[in-house]
């Protein structure tokens, strides 16, 4: 679920941080730039893991900030395709389920990746028609799902006023298979 990524970046250090110890100032600036942000194909940045090297400190003409070349590692949230994760069922509609990990919300399970013979109930809750009986997929339940796809959609240039907010990283999951789906279905 989590991995490290080694990044090199030319970081301009704004002048108001020049009185701070260098390492702290650089760390703060890196956090400001990268934390809680999605980097395309690398995932969601959770934290700065460590700083490997700092070089430079040049001041370019006409500029008040000094520029450092920093090599550091970021702690990224990037599940691999095929990983089994455990999330909470946040919402459910005709398109499928929406799951959440608390810190990451854009997980969708489309309707065709639900268990075989699932149907939508009247209140918007999906129900799995199992031979032992109907099993509803209630909200706020823990769900095990398998990651099938992670996409980083490009930023739309134009957006309708009432379109859903843009999500830079979307995970598509499936709960089709033994052991997947609500934890209460398989727990002892």
């Amino acid at each position: 679920m989590f991995c490290l990524s080694l990044i090199e970046h030319n970081l301009p250090l704004p002048p108001h941080l020049l009185n701070r110890p260098l390492l702290d100032a650089i760390k703060e600036e890196l956090e400001r730039l990268f934390l809680d942000k999605v980097i395309s194909n690398l995932g969601l940045c959770i934290s700065i893991y460590d700083i490997r090297t700092i070089e430079g400190g040049f001041v370019f003409p006409g500029d008040g900030s000094s520029t450092y070349k920093v090599v550091f590692r970021l702690l990224m949230f990037r599940p691999y395709v095929g990983e089994i994760l455990c999330g909470k069922l946040k919402a459910s509609d005709a398109n499928g389920l929406h799951l959440s990990l608390g810190f990451f919300d854009d997980i969708k399970v489309p309707a065709h990746l639900l268990p075989h013979k699932s149907r939508m109930g009247e209140d918007g809750i999906w129900i799995w028609e199992h031979e032992c009986g109907d099993l509803p997929m209630d909200l706020d339940e823990e769900v095990h799902f398998r990651v099938t796809k992670i996409i980083y959609p490009p930023i739309p240039v134009e957006q309708d006023a009432n379109a859903s907010p843009f999500s830079p990283m979307e995970i598509t999951g499936e709960i089709y298979g033994d052991g997947l789906g609500l934890l209460s279905w398989w727990a002892d």
Partner: protein, 253 residues
Amino acid sequence: MDVGFAPGGSSSAFDANPRSEEENARGGNRKLSTAPNLLLSSFALMSNGTQHTGPRVPLPRSREEHGRGGKLLTETILVLRRLQANAGALTNLEVLEFLRARGATSDPMGCLGAVAPSECKVTLPRPKSRHLTVLVTVSWFWCGQVFDYLVNTAACNQTRGAIDEFVKRCEKFKLAKAEKFNIINLRPSNQALIDPIIEYCEKRLTKDEARGIDEVQELVDLVLEVLPPPPAKPDEEMQDLEETPTEKPMEEN
């Protein structure tokens, strides 16, 4: 390891002080003046070796136009070089220990001061405005949501010793590294839960009732024995029972 990236910065190519949007739009397919196509991307934002754009483009818009309740939005173009996309995977336990070392706690008030917005709120409020920002910085403190998530998983009670022992003892099952990670993170407690984790489970782990071999069950037993169980979730009925005694005195008063 340069992954087909922007030309390494010589000082002349690195424009640290952008003058205008049009100036920064050179060298790319982006039209900054009409629609700020901003992306924090590890891929080159420019093509064929033309000049870099500056590291930051302050866009002449007011905060209120695309803020929500005064949240601070910054629009930034960053050119970074991805040296190693995967410099190592971490188990949930390692991430949890890392966050703990940085001072994240499950106590909401304890989070203030020790931990920067770093390990704290990670959800992105996504503005619906036309001038989009992918990168939305929320600069207020919040209890560590990643920490909260991990504390409720099996990683909470694990130790490095237990993980090492598990890895050593599951050698004979010849599991892939990713599968071992997944088992350590999820701690499946029965066969049904382990089944989706292991690819081609039926072929790789023999299950022969006649000879009394059930490798899947052996693996499950190993997990149950070596890896500690996740923290018990508070029973909802117990919670209700606890709440009513305290509510009654309030109502009487």
